[in-house]
């Protein structure tokens, strides 16, 4: 049954646990150029969420990341269709700077939709500290917003140096390191230690045995967030990995829902 703990046993028996309503802080939506996703639309994603006991997903639609002609429109539409289950990050797309200014100017019209901003710099090949992003970082810093940034160890766009620079310049931002600087575990730990407003995201880490144990051992149990990249990774795959990890059920509750609940409360979203 994976592991000998009450939470592992409950998930093993039932596939979900009402006492542990999972909050997924890193998702997407929609079809994608490079991968076939069997469950890519909002309805089938909600089906998977129900199956695995995921109470809420915070996401950025793929088209907001890779199709400026559509931008954030489909994220907005999905959240407004399913306001009890979905929230979105507003994607700050750098290729067309006028779009950033427009989206920031209209951000407040979507206070029921957005919980913060999303950066995807490795894929755009424009670094976090590029001038085009400056207004967005200022905006997030002034409002103490959540920002989910894709990060990857060694990346010149959103790697260790960029994270350190931005976290120093904009200390009010609640910065979620998407993928936790994947591979650069020592640096992720050092940077998390240095900047208290910074959170470690487990997306793509649940197939890397040992990373979450390291983070917990370093004292970050209350600053680790659960993520699946849904519709990329099956939530059960990610939850099953956490149930196998050498951490306590208390840590698992922190990671699977408590930490995110607190962060979302700060963003004006209370989950009942």
């Amino acid at each position: 049954m994976i592991a000998n703990t009450p939470l592992a046993e409950f998930f093993w028996q039932h596939g979900r646990c009402d006492e542990c309503p999972v909050i997924d802080m890193h998702g997407h939506m929609g079809p994608y150029s490079m991968i076939y996703f069997p469950r890519a639309n909002a309805e089938s994603m909600l089906h998977s969420m129900d199956q695995c006991g995921v109470r809420m997903l915070v996401f950025s639609h793929h088209t907001a990341l890779n199709c400026p002609d559509i931008g954030n429109t489909l994220s907005i539409k999905a959240v407004r269709e399913y306001p009890d289950r979905l929230r979105a990050y507003m994607v700050v797309h750098p290729s067309h700077p006028e779009m950033i200014e427009h989206d920031l100017a209209t951000y407040d019209e979507y206070s029921d939709v957005y919980v913060g901003l999303k950066f995807f710099s490795s894929y755009w090949q424009i670094p976090w500290d590029a001038p085009v992003f400056e207004s967005a970082w200022h905006f997030a810093n002034e409002r103490k917003l959540l920002v989910l940034g894709h990060t990857w160890g060694g990346s010149i766009y959103d790697g260790e140096a960029q994270v350190r620079k931005i976290a120093s310049l904009y200390p009010n931002v609640r910065l979620i390191l998407g993928h936790s600087l994947h591979g650069a575990w020592d640096e992720a730990v050092a940077i998390a230690d240095e900047f208290p407003n910074l959170y470690l995201d487990l997306t793509s880490l649940t197939y890397v045995r040992g990373a979450v144990e390291r983070f917990v051992a370093e004292g970050f149990s209350e600053r680790i967030l659960f993520g699946t990249d849904l519709p990329w990774f099956k939530p059960h795959q990610c939850i099953g990995a956490l149930l196998s990890a050498d951490i306590t059920d208390d840590d698992r509750h922190n990671i699977l829902h408590r930490n995110a609940r607190q962060l979302l409360h700060g963003a004006g979203v209370d989950i009942h």
Binding site: G15, I35, A241, A245
Partner: protein
Amino acid sequence: MNSTETLLEFFDCNTWIGRPMNLLPGRPNPPGCSAEYLISEMDKAGISKALVWHVAQRDSFPATGNDLLIEAIAGSERLVPCWTLLPPQTRELGDLDSFFGQAGKAGVKAFRVFPDIHRFLLRRTCMCELFDRMVVRRIPLILRVPGNVDWSGVYDLLSETPELTVILSNMGSWGSDRFFRPLIEDYPNVYIETSGYITDGGIEAFVESYGSQRLLFGTNFPEAYHGAMMLSIAHAEISHTDKEAIACGNLDRLLRRVKL
């Protein structure tokens, strides 16, 4: 309630033991996994059996790793050995009759190759004699794709030896359906190991299109967690019979028909 899930038996198609030459890139876990440690972790998770290889087969030399594997798992009926091959022309594995005889005596049920690291091509020009023997003896070949051989290499291999039983393993976190589905449709002896098949809804969509007989439970332990794919299979939206097949039955059937 899915109490029947607790009755599933798991046979892990993809696990290794030994101490890697180098720290695993991007992996924070202490490198190294003894047979005893593997068994204790399998007990903790609830995994009955595992098809296992030794990292020295890859990092040091196939014959060295093959011997270390047999020594390490001696006496354990739960760990089934998987050896590594080289092209026969250099005779580094000795006489082929003798090699296959030793493999049979050691209880070997599958082979792996590492063409990128061991510097050869996965073509009949190199591997003809080995592949023909494997086809006759129905021995599966496990390939880490795209880690140790790229997709073109797999397509070429199957085009040249379509009867070979091939298990595609460790396919990585980026969904690979567009690569492997054409192979599933064209070659009846191609199987998918699940540790890298983590796309949401992937197992259900595969079973709907092709049935459950071509999927094999695997974990990639100790690099990845046992529980990840266990929970995914136990609660996949497929029939219990399909779950049993994927978790254990298909690999059991494949290995039982091996004539070594």
